[in-house]
Symmetry: D2
Subunit: 367 residues, 4 copies
């Protein structure tokens, strides 16, 4: 496999299956001297963890993370940080059906084709449960970026099926079970999700993540552009089918005079670029948006085949998220944090002596 | 910078500026025994090169590529392939204005902030001229994938500003200056582009790339998923602001029953997945779509600042593409080819012994 | 730090400090289908673990390893293998002295200069305790190489201070506490080591590792030559100050007619090359030898400085190996196994179609 | 192959065969603002180039390097530096014999086994001619290290067959054709080499390289230790069979009291460590020594086989170095420079905020 690491100078590697004994990971390259304890990681883990409301899977996991190395007397030492989360609620039920059949829209078939074998319990390695460690690792990056560089990373659900927010307020995001930035529309979402859950179907969603206070100069053209690495990071999240930066797909119908962001001595006047030009951060907010597909794990029967190629009907039992996008906000924030952290270390190494020859343009505020 | 390489086992590294003496690159990891000559690369280079119609930049470059190593007696030897393209039409005009001012929407500002210096002639390293070497390298990958694995990679313009094709025919794509799959609408595009060019403005576009005949099993979860690497590759192309796989952003409004692709003994019945499940290829066509912003290099004046932070008005002179999306089709094909080539070598190394335990499901045809 | 991973396609990443709660690691890229259990790893861990004789440190660690992921129903699945070993015998004594003083010849000073902080308990990350995870990971590689490719990796102590074996017998290596290939000289070593231990001093050693049954073609010139990667791997072991391949430093005084290994239809007639030509394996035994310095952790006082730069005298208390080379044999075997495993996957990916055009020359037997 | 890159943050990639049209390379990650011209590279290229005395190969190459990118108005821009050297003296003689036979001690056999094909002209990719680009790239690193960090990298021949210098003077090294630090013994070497050349045989050698003025803190444990990366770099040079750091193999017979380097407020009192402890630089001189085998390309007949496995006698014609170690000094310097440059960028990224809490110990002078 050998694809379980992310980053070059700040490297995160993860392991673990949905129904194995534990998930874990290693964060390699964290600068020394950062105050760090498991509590710093737990906050985001709790935002991601299942069972927080009736709108997500009812699997019960405390997702309590242990730091096994790399921290001494409350501060990072520069050595690798070992992370461990024990799985607690792996129900041992009968897997004989799922072992023999491929759920349509799932990784069952592709894993078996690739490896000739698969851990079918709860999706094994392909389960989004793996993202818990990403969130823990991302929390370390977030803390460093915030404390040392003043970078703030936030996210919110920006669409749930046909629903879009009618207003925008960052304050609301953490006060409802959807990471939704518009208090007014929350009841409508609640009603919609309740009906959806009853129907047995699932729905897609979009999540937006924003990094504020990013310095200019992050990103390594040509291939390791900041936007290319963000696309890589976000598309690696389970269920993501699309990534946009700034104006994103809307730029297809824009003219040059509309799209380009005017610069003034007081700062940029718009942010179609999403904070990145030529693959390098400009100091404006970095804005990315992802599309998450509706989960394929639904109770409604679907056509499929079994391991012998025969036609079968598949119904997914067990506990699943009717909208995986809801819990994706902290994961997307974590991945954006990992990219910015990695690029901060890379940029600083090569350009330690660069004294910006011009005053940085203050970025205009933008949600 | 250190971001000028792409791939892990099939590695492409490029160098060169828009107005320097030459562009070049190294393809490292090509299997031995592939018949190869410069002519194999020239075909795609000619599809990308400027000045092919009145709708692209009028810079005249023959883009003739030399193979300097790695090929012996007409076949690759397994050693690195050195590629070189001399720049021919670098007009030496007066750059004093662009040297002092940042073009809005351009990488001028971000490069200078990052490096403290920039080669302002024609955009230097940030110019899309760099993609010529990607196309040359991609042609090697395309040839290998076609000859050894039967994989075919094609692309087309799928939207130009507000225009979408009304029909679809792969045959038409190479018979008009837009890579447009619908003969009927070509005259409308011609008229639109002529008017746009006269107005001095530019327009965005979307390009779709498709790989057919891809075997199952390519892609390395978790972070090096096939879709994540495709997103990385495509977002690294100049002007790209969004990447979609399969249904892409449309999945946000889909239900699980709509999105998941049913499987039958005869194959998949739809392809919302875009040929990838769990980050691993399923054997269906791989389908990706990108959004390209309108070029910022336009004759119409824009607000900006100079190197001293003072407000200025900027007008871009010189020769530029009014729609950079038009020439992007061969570039996107090349990047998709590089990803598939890299993952073929990675997969084959780890899974040489895997005998697929079930018959591969034949993918249904899809444009 | 970001230097805690080894390999490209078969990647091992480790974490953990000498006196932290646990050591751990992730093996990423193991092919699927390999039968594997913790018992397979324990064998080599037991060969390395401390306290096996009076000639090594008396720290008591059972070094029991847990496999936390990547194995399902007794076979590897192709997903990352999580490994964990709890530390058991971290004596909590007073570290105030070592916290303030740098032991001469130790990493105390360099870690503090690099990171501005160090976990001084038992050497923290710089302790050779970290190699336990290497041995566990190497055992996986060894098993795969043996079962699938018929490669056998063995090692022995080839010099202990002034002592060299007077005879050679692989059978003897596992029947004495020194991995010594000559039964006759074992009593002399015992006497020597007993006297050394009493004196409070330590001694250097050399270890030789040999891989037999290696196929031709492993190694990726120019920089990732097989010998270069072996040198990297072996020099990364604590206390190693030199690495030789084949004839090694003896080649300095050899003539071309002596050094080059004649080839015959029956095989090579000698092995000065150590099984590698041009960075690629030839099918002969791969032979490497390393020099290990005497440990600096000795009871005899040495001159040093404290954290404030003042002159001090340092005496190392605690439990230490008087000859770290003795326990290095399984570590060196593990590192050689990791290199061969990684190169097997890399080679196989690129050269899957290469059918050797000539019969492989059978390698002559050589210890 | 995919092994033609070296470094992680300062990455050098090379291409080219002995008898192809050109050699080339890309240096990716050079910090911006460094004054640089081809002349800066030519100096070391001239030290390495063939035909400088009667004691090296008589192939005539001017080895004139072109910089094709990455430098603007005399300074590096942070973008990749493209390098090109045209081959000039590829004699086109009859290769039919070498095409069918494997020279003993050469890479002919291993390349053919690996790739199923080889460019046999002059050794193709396995020729040491490839090192010209390493020397050019290393010169960039050397210049940066010298100008920005005050690091000086030098090398000398430390043994030629049975001959060792009887005195030591850095001043002498550049004043004889051997990079020999002892004027008194040069005439003996001349006589020895003349006789050797006449005999048709070749001889091994050792080269020592030293870096002075290295700051503390370079090196990334565990696997990317500074010494491990130096071993990798030096062992990747053609013909190298052994690498030592500091005391090297002599440490095998040292006691702990002898080997450990005492520290005092005025600095270290010896340098058995070779400037590296725990894989991290200590501020002392970094000292490494390599063993180079005698070239196998000799006129004296040797036993071998042809491509069909039949026994043949091989005599190497053409122009060859009777002692490849002589020209290896600038190559070893270049590789050491590349390692230090790469680690400088890595260290600086992670530890930008570390203020060394203690005064650096001044390293004592040492050749």
């Amino acid at each position: 496999m050998s694809g379980n690491s992310f980053g070059r100078n700040f490297v995160v590697t993860t392991f673990g299956e949905s129904h194995g004994p534990a998930l874990g990971g290693i964060v390699d390259g964290c600068p020394p001297g950062l105050e760090l304890s498991a509590a710093d990681l737990q906050q985001d883990l709790d935002r991601r963890k299942p069972g927080q409301s009736r709108h997500t899977t009812q699997r019960r996991e405390s997702d309590r993370v242990e730091i096994l190395s790399g921290v001494f007397e409350g501060r990072t030492t520069g050595t690798p940080i070992g992370l461990l989360i024990h799985n607690e609620d792996q129900r041992s039920h009968d897997y004989s059906e799922i072992a023999e059949r491929y759920r349509p829209g799932h990784a069952d078939y592709s894993y078996e084709q690739k490896y000739g074998v698969r851990d079918y319990r709860g999706g094994g390695r392909s389960s989004a449960r793996e993202t818990a460690i990403r969130v823990a690792a991302g929390a370390i990056a977030k803390k460093y970026l915030a404390e040392r560089l003043g970078i703030r990373i936030r996210g919110h659900l920006s669409q749930l099926g046909p629903w879009r927010p009618r207003g925008f307020d960052w304050e609301q995001v953490e006060h409802n079970p959807f990471f939704w930035p518009c208090a007014e529309t929350v009841p409508e979402l609640e009603t919609y999700m309740d009906a959806l859950r009853k129907s047995g179907d699932s729905i897609g969603a979009a999540v937006t993540v924003v990094a504020s206070g990013v310095p200019t100069g992050l990103g390594e053209p040509i291939f390791d552009r900041l936007d290319a690495d963000i696309a890589h990071a976000l598309m690696s999240i389970n269920a993501v089918k699309g990534v946009e930066i700034g104006a994103g797909f809307a730029c297809v119908e824009q003219k040059g005079t509309e799209h380009r962001d005017p610069m003034t001595p007081e700062g940029f006047l718009s942010n179609n670029a999403g904070g990145i030009l030529g693959g390098i951060s400009t100091g404006q907010d970095i804005v990315a948006r992802i599309a998450l597909k509706p989960t394929s794990s639904i109770r409604l029967p679907g056509r499929s085949i079994d391991r012998h190629g025969a036609a079968v009907e598949v119904v997914t039992k067990g506990r699943h998220d009717p909208c995986v996008g809801i819990r994706a906000t902290p994961i997307a924030e974590a991945m954006l944090a990992l990219v910015l952290m990695d690029h901060t270390l890379r940029h600083r190494g090569q350009n330690a002596e660069v004294v910006p020859p011009i005053p940085a343009i203050p970025a205009e505020p933008r949600p």
